[in-house]
């Protein structure tokens, strides 16, 4: 058990190391002259420009040899210092990310979990019910083939513009003060719903299709036939099939995480929802390299953590993993 996790952990650590290295390289190997571009914003401040420029050069450590820059990047990383944003000068990148990441989590966690659970249930159901299968499958295929941003636009058009029930902007109402108040929570949920729904529905299709195929596969497996011939109830066979089908779905979750996070990014753009993806795009548009670095890093960390959680979940669900790594079964 410990072995399994530690092996995974090592891979994640190496990934993290690679990601940080890429991250470090972002502003340093950009073509053109990033610092100059940053300072274009401070036009008309001749002398001031120099002051700021020297500050940025120092902050990036651009006056040191590359190797040293690399090590000091790691050092500042562990002290939680990701530099200062240009786009939101002089706010620390860390603060911006801290404020944004919560908006990713509130959408992603429920959307992933719910779509996984509901998708698997629906898929299992359509795996055993021909009628439901014919009815739902085209819909699932449609969902899983839709680009997130386009589906978000459809949702926005239908629920936001045509029916007009939900706002299609921002994370809470314009006159609401953030805080633990009823009006804030209601407004928050009101704004949260459509981005959530988008994320939920698009993912739903994939899970349902996956589970349906698993069930079909399992039902035709020899053990199922054997049980059938022994006179086991249909229900029992189904539940075995479902349990066997769930495992690959958990692995699938890990594989899809990166795509889901990409989808969240685009959904956020359509709904102007101020999460990390949204910030990252703004950062790129504004050539705010510190902020690009920071958001990239945190998106990677988010995926790594999620992957690790999936691994743990997998271990809990599948006893074989537990045993094989603790030496009980060879």
């Amino acid at each position: 058990m410990g072995k399994y996790l530690s092996k995974k952990l090592i891979i994640y650590l190496i990934t993290f190391f690679v990601a940080v290295t890429i991250d470090w390289a972002i502003p340093r190997f950009m073509p053109g002259e990033p610092i100059g571009m940053l300072l274009a914003r401070f036009q008309g401040m001749e002398g001031g420009r120099e002051i700021l420029e020297s500050q940025f050069v120092q902050a990036f450590g651009l006056d040191q040899p590359l190797i040293e820059q690399y090590f000091s990047f790691w050092k500042s990383l562990f002290s939680g210092d990701l530099g200062i944003s240009i786009y939101a000068f002089p706010k620390p990148v860390m603060t911006i990310i801290r404020e944004a990441i919560i908006f990713d989590i509130v959408i992603l966690v429920p959307a992933i979990l719910l779509s996984w659970v509901v998708g698997n249930k629906l898929g299992a159901y359509s795996g055993i019910n021909k009628k439901a299968d014919n009815l739902m499958m085209p819909f699932f295929y449609f969902l899983t083939s839709s680009p997130y941003f386009w589906f978000a636009m459809v949702i926005a058009f239908v629920f936001g513009v045509r029916i007009g029930w939900f706002p299609i902007n921002s994370a809470y109402g314009s006159t609401i003060r953030p805080g633990l108040t009823l009006s804030f929570i209601l407004s928050f949920l009101h704004h949260w719903f459509l981005p959530f729904l988008t994320m939920f529905l698009v993912q739903l299709g994939g899970w349902a299709i996956g589970m349906r195929n698993m069930i079909l596969y399992e039902r035709s497996a020899n053990y199922a036939r054997y049980m059938e011939s022994l006179g086991a109830s249909d229900r029992l066979i189904r539940s075995y099939g479902f349990r066997n089908g769930v495992l690959p779905q958990v692995t699938g979750l890990a594989l899809r995480l990166s795509g889901i996070i990409g989808g969240a990014l685009m959904t956020q753009i359509v709904f102007a929802y101020p999460g990390l993806g949204f910030i990252m795009l703004r950062a790129i548009m504004n050539h705010d390299y510190f902020l690009i670095q920071g958001t990239f890093l945190f998106i990677v960390i988010l995926v790594l953590v999620a992957n690790f959680l999936v691994d743990i979940a997998y271990m809990v669900i599948d006893p074989r993993v537990r045993y094989s790594y603790s030496g009980e079964v060879s």
Binding site: R41, E46, G48, E50, I51, K91, N169, T175, A272
Partner: protein, 559 residues
């Protein structure tokens, strides 16, 4: 499972009821967007507004000596009570009495002098005043005199309403190396609003009930100003339709089509709907062939049809520029119809072709495109930043127009940074730009930008991207800066400048981008309009002194 939900509901209710602060009363809040593009993070007026402080920092908190109302072409004394030239090189300002900083200290002449002196001793964006200003005298508590070595009368007009006054008792304690980098989170100014709160996508200002101007101008109507960062015009339009936004300062395609159906107001009831705000020009890089030939450039001016752009791309929300690019009362005072009649241009492809033929730009190899005088093919590229949708559509039209007279031009959309690099470094051929052509108190600002003389460095960052080099013209513009308002000499120089620019055609004025402003009247009425000119419906940075405060004062809550 069910019990959990019930528990959660109870929890939510308890939390909800126990809290005190609920929300900003909608009927007391003005919600707007369009001027803020990044989260508010500093309120440091020594950084220019492009450097990140939220729009309104100067205007709502920090104030100016004067306001300038472009629609009336009039100066409104603000912190100053009056100002006048005592002699050719001495200007005196008398301050209003009884103005207080919002921390309770008195505002006086020392603060005014300090606000200028800080730029002499430190590199701020307005430090170059000190190349032509000698010193400042604080005559008494309410009187300041500025002595000039070399008075730039035209430029001074801009400075009078542009520079923010900052409290000496606070900023004198900030060390020099921090001046440009501190965030100044609780800004102390003289203005009608204070910082209330800041969010990831918004910034809220709250009215200062003790503002000195209440007795003089009246109190601004909204208790809260909520400035949203709305990331795109599509979001802004949606929010305007849903009444989540009271005032939008975005370019919104489709407004002429839907304004009636959705009860959206614009300054002019019909076309052009918007107040003209700046001139969009086509810059022609005069350092490369064939753009170095004024005959070729002039032919191009005749070949382009901005009317198509105005109608198709902007749905008549903008107007075609005249040949000089001048607009607005202050600039048009110097407009010379005579010169335009003689040297102006208008869309006329036949003339364009004729001019090109005459100048020798013929299709020598029979490939359908005109060639350079030396026989080489002419292939030009016109650029605007990727994602600037209206400009992207516009240059497609321009390229088509030029192709129609046989000049091979392709539109291209590099990312903004590449675009900026190209115009700064002179590696472009044709490019649209308007960054420095905004409505102002004097056409000097326009000329000094479009044909700025600062073209000798490696980078040309502030206008004249064409790199048009004409010392005589530069001299005329300098001379114009030294003239007084509407003196015969000023008029004469202005006419000469217009003539020189039309003859040389270093850039082609195309259309006037608007002060995009759309409002709705669900919560607030009495918006500024053509028939009700109560202010300037603008929340863009650096322009609050153009009449946005009167707009706030004249707004009427529906409830």
């Amino acid at each position: 499972m069910k019990r959990n939900w019930a528990l959660l509901l109870v929890l939510v209710l308890v939390v909800g009821l126990s809290s005190i602060a609920m929300s900003y009363e909608r009927s007391e809040s003005l919600v707007y967007g369009g001027g803020m593009w990044s989260p508010a993070s500093n309120w440091n007026p020594l950084i220019p507004y492009t450097g990140g402080h939220p729009t309104g920092t100067v205007g709502l908190v920090f104030e100016n000596l004067f306001h300038y109302y472009p629609l009336e072409n009039r100066f409104q004394p603000w912190l100053a009570e009056s100002g006048q030239w005592l002699s050719d090189n001495q200007y005196e300002i008398k301050l209003r009495k009884g103005i207080k900083w919002n921390d309770g200290e008195d505002f006086n002449a020392v603060d005014v002098a300090f606000s200028f002196l800080i730029a002499r001793d430190n590199p701020t964006y307005y430090s170059n005043i000190w190349t032509w200003m000698n010193d400042i005298e604080v005559v008494d508590t309410y009187t300041v005199r500025f002595n000039f070595a070399d008075p730039h009368y035209q430029e001074w007009k801009g400075i009078l309403h542009d520079i923010a006054m900052i409290p000496e008792h606070i900023w004198s304690k900030v060390s020099a190396d921090q001046l440009l980098t501190i965030a100044n989170e609780n800004p102390v100014g003289t203005g009608p609003y204070l910082v209330e709160s800041v969010g990831q996508d918004r910034m809220v200002w709250v009215r200062d009930e003790d503002w000195w101007g209440n007795q003089i101008f009246g109190q601004p109507a909204p208790k809260y100003l909520i400035n949203l960062i709305v990331p795109g015009n599509n979001n802004a339009l949606g929010m305007l339709m849903k009444r989540e936004l009271d005032l939008s300062n975005y370019f919104l395609p489709g407004i002429p089509n839907i304004k009636k159906a959705f009860g959206i107001n614009t300054y002019y009831e019909d076309s052009p709907y918007m107040i003209a705000e700046n001139t969009a020009l086509l810059f022609l890089n005069t350092t490369i062939e064939p753009l170095d030939d004024r005959n070729f450039r002039r032919a191009m001016a005749f070949a382009i049809n901005p009317k198509i752009i105005v109608e198709r791309v902007y749905e008549n929300q903008v107007t075609v520029a005249n040949s000089t690019g001048l607009f607005g009362q202050a600039w048009m005072d110097y407009y010379s119809q005579e010169i335009v009649d003689q040297y102006g241009f208008s869309y006329d492809p036949a003339t364009a072709k004729q001019l090109l033929d005459q100048a020798g730009y013929l299709d020598r190899d029979g490939d359908g495109w005109r060639d350079n005088l030396n026989g080489e093919a002419i292939e030009l590229e016109v650029i605007v930043p990727n994602g600037w949708t209206d400009w992207m559509e516009s240059i497609k039209v321009i390229a088509d127009n030029l192709k129609a007279v046989g000049v091979n031009v392709t539109p291209s959309f590099p990312d903004f940074s590449i675009y900026l690099n190209a115009i700064h470094q002179g590696t472009f051929e044709l490019a649209i730009n308007n960054f420095g052509a905004s409505l102002s108190v004097t056409p000097f600002s326009y000329w000094n930008w479009v044909v700025s003389d600062e073209i000798d460095g490696d980078l040309v960052t502030d206008g004249n991207f064409s790199r048009y080099d004409d010392p005589k013209l530069f001299k005329m513009i300098k001379a114009f800066n030294m003239t007084d308002d509407a003196s015969p000499r000023a008029m004469e120089i202005a006419a000469n400048i217009q003539q020189a620019m039309l003859e040389a055609m270093p850039s082609i004025p195309l259309w006037h981008n608007g002060l995009w402003a759309q409002t709705q009247s669900e919560y607030w009425t009495n918006w500024p309009s053509e028939d009700n000119p109560t202010g300037y419906p603008c929340t863009w940075g650096g322009k609050w002194d153009f009449g946005s405060i009167p707009m706030l004062i004249n707004l009427k809550p529906v409830k």
